[in-house]
């Protein structure tokens, strides 16, 4: 038994089956990421003043990753076009570049961007103690200028034991630029370039801290959304790369010999998925890195 319209289009709909399937799947994906992005909107609107952080992500690296992903969306189209022109060697080349781009994107994410967060420390200061830490927060300065207040002190934690040991009563933090020099007008707006921790040390009493920890998903709702959305997006990138590798391996060559149009269709469908993954990133980048 053969299912009709697997390779050639049905005349009245003008579509072959997998193309209908992938568009439906992508519609469902839009709703999946839509749910997460609506959570972002909900949580950001609900956040207390100063609770939604800015400038904690590395914009140059994010920009590079954006460029890599967009480039890979171009090369996957070239790969498909090469198949349509029946130039298999060029298909292999372009598909290879696409795979490489996907791998670089994931490597940057997993080997650099995420781990950088895991070692960065922050402490939410209780409302009643904000006054005490004014030298690190500079809220009077911000208030005078009409900016949102700061309510956390960030940097590198020196005494890691403090996180678990109830006998240690304070955190020893090598401060970030913004807390080391809070009234510097340079820090009024979020930094888009990475700023390293300073040598200035602050001692923060645990009693004054509402919640403290590394920049993990549980640090605040911003990082919760950031890690969940980029994590799910990363899984999609991984899925796409695996499919591309499958089509790039001899499986693709064998299918090409049997029915080149079938391989072109598969590349087209995988490419549509890849464009969607790209598109999600186009939303992720400004929402988390820039705004």
């Amino acid at each position: 038994m053969d299912i009709p319209y697997t390779v050639t289009a049905r005349p009245d709909t003008g579509l072959w089956n997998a193309k209908v399937g992938i568009w439906l799947f992508l519609a469902s994906e839009v709703m999946l990421f839509g749910g997460l992005f609506s959570a972002y909107v909900f949580l950001r609107l609900d956040a207390a003043p100063g609770d939604w952080p800015h400038g904690l992500l590395n914009v140059p690296v994010g920009t590079m990753n954006t460029a890599i992903l967009i480039a890979s969306s171009v090369t996957v189209v070239m790969a498909w076009a090469s198949l349509k022109m029946r130039r298999f060697a060029r298909y292999k080349l372009y598909m290879g570049i696409t795979i490489l781009c996907g791998v670089i994107f994931l490597a940057v994410k997993l080997a650099y961007e995420w781990p950088e967060k895991f070692v960065h420390f922050g402490a939410h200061i209780k409302t009643e103690a904000l006054e005490k830490y004014e030298p690190y927060l500079g809220n009077k300065h911000l208030l005078a200028k009409g900016h949102e207040p700061r309510n956390k002190i960030t940097g590198h934690l020196h005494n890691h034991d403090a996180l678990h040991d109830p006998n240690i009563h304070e955190f020893e933090i090598a401060l970030d630029q913004v807390n080391a020099d809070p009234t510097n007008p340079d820090s009024d707006r979020p930094h888009f370039w990475p700023v390293h921790a300073t040598d200035k040390i602050a001692h923060v009493d645990k009693k004054d801290v509402k919640f403290a920890g590394m920049f993990l998903p549980n640090f605040n709702t911003y990082f919760a959304t950031y890690f969940t959305i980029t994590g799910l997006h990363g899984l999609h990138v991984l899925g796409g790369v695996l499919v591309f590798i499958y089509l790039w391996l001899p499986v693709g060559a064998n299918l090409y010999k049997r029915n080149p149009e079938h391989l072109a269709n598969r590349v087209e469908v995988a490419g549509l998925f890849w464009h969607f993954v790209d598109l999600v990133w186009i939303f992720v980048f400004p929402l988390f890195y820039l705004l």
């Binding site: 038994m1 053969d2 299912i3 009709p4 319209y5 049905r10 709909t13 579509l15 072959w16 089956n17 997998a18 209908v20 399937g21 439906l24 799947f25 519609a27 469902s28 994906e29 709703m31 999946l32 990421f33 839509g34 749910g35 997460l36 609506s38 959570a39 909900f42 949580l43 609900d46 956040a47 207390a48 609770d51 939410h124 919640f211 993990l216 998903p217 549980n218 640090f219 605040n220 709702t221 919760a224 959304t225 890690f227 969940t228 799910l232």
Partner: protein, 629 residues
């Protein structure tokens, strides 16, 4: 009967090397290839159907247990109580007495299992898989392997849900809605494993079930768009196919936001995030060590964004089944076919913008409430159109009251009661009083239990001969039908009453301690009404025995029938019973609409969709058109 039905020649399956074209020989493939990992849409439909029926009975059994606690709170369950206590482990029913935690587990899992493992798999996946490709004249679904993966994901999801009963602490206790922050903090702490606990497994099970429904929905829509037989235009599709088409879109688009919510709740439980955890949360007198800043309302929005379309996922396939059976047994074309189709489409669209009417009491604000109140009012219009069309279809018909038709006819008033009692809940002023009472339980059970489940039974009796080549017993069907109908009403009618007395739906003691529940109605207090309700529930459990026996007995010993025993018109009845892999001997061509019953100038009172036009048909159609204009 024409040549394309009845004594059809054996199908030729020259493309499939495993099949040697003998429609009678079912032993070509080893058992596990044919029944366990099959890609045949009919086998997958049957797999879904049988698994779904098992879950349906299991979910119902959970409720039968709860009914004991509600009618006789704190008393030991006789006979099986001790055994159940040791089966479900310590903390469930020590000495046969149900603990509050176990009661909560039963409540949460009853809802979850009935909806997501019982009705959706049967009404959508089983009937859709089995019937839709046959009705549109397709050889199979567009993506048979994805279809198989869909069933497997569903099966594993179901197993995960079952396992959750036996982990320390038992199954999820946060209600089928898993409202946060309760659901995030429940099943946590020293007595629970961080992952192998009821609520976390509930979430993992859900991810699998959503994956399954996604794969199924894509397949259904693509199949209906791509694999319709020649001449099967959109307005010639049987209404059942339309109902499945709309249902598939609802599942495709409404489930993913819940999937995102489920992932977020898992993050809250496993990674300590605060998606749904507000600032300043205090549990057992101690502040919870979390960052806070999350929104419990966000969960409710995402949940009900699925939850409301889900209601139509439950009811639309039922309406589709009822439509087929009514047309077949009134021997008339379905009244208002086009109105039905457009009503179903409008219903599907509107079901996406009514969800917050489940949340009147959350303080969303007047503007939001006014919007959702309005859309909720509007959505009743297409529902009424559909129900009215069914009622008018009965008008003047010489109705055959066989078992499928009995169930289909009973569906109409039962669904009507369910629908009409929903209207007070749609107004937030009336809902203030009725919210979370037994009234709500009665309302939605009238839609789903004597509504959808009756439609499901109707469908099983109706398509059983197509799936097996044998009839189910009429007599035992009636023995199944009448007690079920009576018990359904004895169970759910008094619940309206209890709800109006203010009895809360989640009470462990059945309202024993609630003053207003002592008010007498017809000589019995609201609490005492639990007695007859529970007894009716147990009798209804017994009334399913004839069905179970009939179902399995008829598979082997039922009366053998030809390919079209109901003298129906749609394409599935042109295929052999049971249809072989690949379905049709020759791809059918369609010449007419789906319900050409009693066409003037024909020898029989049914004209099948694949029968070519005759001059007498054209005259009949012209005469009918002249009457309408």
């Amino acid at each position: 009967m024409d040549a394309s039905s009845g004594l059809a020649p054996h199908p030729h399956a020259e493309h499939d090397p495993h099949h040697h074209g003998d429609g009678h020989d079912h032993h070509e493939l080893p058992f596990w290839r044919k029944w366990i990992i099959s890609t045949d849409h009919k086998v997958i439909g049957i797999q879904y159907g049988i698994t779904g029926l098992l879950f349906l009975f299991f979910g119902f059994s959970l409720m039968m247990l709860m009914r004991w606690q509600l009618a006789y709170p704190g008393e030991a369950l006789p006979v099986i109580g001790h055994w159940l206590g040791s089966f479900f482990g310590p903390g469930s029913m020590p000495d046969g007495k149900m603990t509050p935690e176990f009661y909560n587990s039963l409540g949460a899992m009853h809802g979850t299992i009935m909806i997501f493992l019982g009705i959706v798999p049967i009404a959508f996946a089983a009937f859709g898989n089995f019937v839709v490709p046959l009705q549109i004249g397709a050889p199979d679904m567009t993506f048979p392997k994805i279809n198989m993966a869909s069933y497997q994901a569903f099966f594993v999801g179901g197993v995960v849900m079952l396992i959750s009963f036996f982990v320390p602490g038992g199954a999820a206790k946060g209600g089928w809605t898993s409202y946060t922050p309760l659901a995030v903090i429940s099943d946590t702490g020293p007595a629970y494993h961080p992952f192998w606990n009821g609520q976390s497994l509930w979430l993992v099970g859900f991810i699998l079930l959503i994956t399954s429904s996604l794969l199924g929905a894509v397949n259904f829509i693509a199949t209906i768009i791509q694999l319709r037989a020649k001449g099967m235009t959109w307005m010639r599709l049987p209404f059942f196919v339309w109902s499945q088409f709309v249902t598939a879109f609802l599942l495709l688009l409404a489930f993913p936001p819940l999937e995102s919510a489920v992932v977020m709740q898992l993050m809250d439980r496993l990674a300590g995030t605060s998606f749904f955890m507000p600032s300043g949360l205090v549990v057992n007198g101690a502040p919870v060590q979390i960052s806070g800043g999350g929104s419990p309302l966000l969960w409710q929005h995402l949940f009900w964004f699925l939850g409301h379309p889900e209601v139509y996922v439950l009811i639309l396939p039922g309406m589709g089944i009822v439509a087929e059976i009514i047309a077949n047994n009134t021997r008339k074309p379905l009244w208002g076919y086009k109105s039905l189709v457009f009503a179903a489409l409008v219903l599907g669209f509107l079901s996406f913008i009514v969800w917050a009417h489940h949340m009147w009491l959350t303080g969303m604000g007047n503007v939001v409430s006014a919007f959702f109140q309005t859309t909720t009012m509007i959505i009743s219009i297409p529902s009424v159109i559909i129900l009215s069309a069914f009622f008018i279809s009965l008008w003047g018909g010489s109705i055959r009251f066989n078992v499928p038709m009995l169930f289909a006819t009973a569906f109409l008033p039962m669904f009507g009661i369910g629908g009409l009692t929903g209207i007070p809940l749609a107004f937030n002023s009336a809902d203030l009083y009725l919210h979370d009472t037994y009234y709500v339980i009665a309302h939605f059970h009238y839609i789903v239990a004597p509504g959808t489940i009756f439609a499901v039974f109707a469908g099983i009796y109706f398509w059983f001969p197509k799936a097996t080549g044998r009839m189910m017993s009429e007599f035992w069907g009636k023995v199944h039908f009448w007690p079920s109908l009576i018990c359904m009403n004895v169970i759910f009618l008094p619940m309206f009453l209890q709800g109006m007395l203010g009895m809360h739906r989640r009470w462990y003691d059945g309202g024993q301690g609630w003053t207003l529940a002592g008010e007498k109605v017809w000589g019995m207090s609201g609490f005492e009404w639990n007695g007859p309700i529970s007894i009716a529930a147990w009798i209804m459990g017994l009334a399913q025995i004839p069905f179970i026996i009939n179902f399995f007995w008829s598979m082997k010993y039922g009366k053998k029938v030809n390919d079209n025993p109901w003298e129906a018109t749609t394409l599935e009845w042109t295929a052999p019973s049971p249809p072989p892999h690949g379905n049709f001997a020759k791809t059918p061509t369609v010449y007419r609409g789906p319900y050409e019953y009693s066409l003037p100038g024909r020898e029989t009172d049914f004209t099948m969709q694949d029968e070519p036009m005759r001059d007498s048909d054209r005259k009949a159609y012209e005469a009918a058109a002249a009457v309408h204009h």
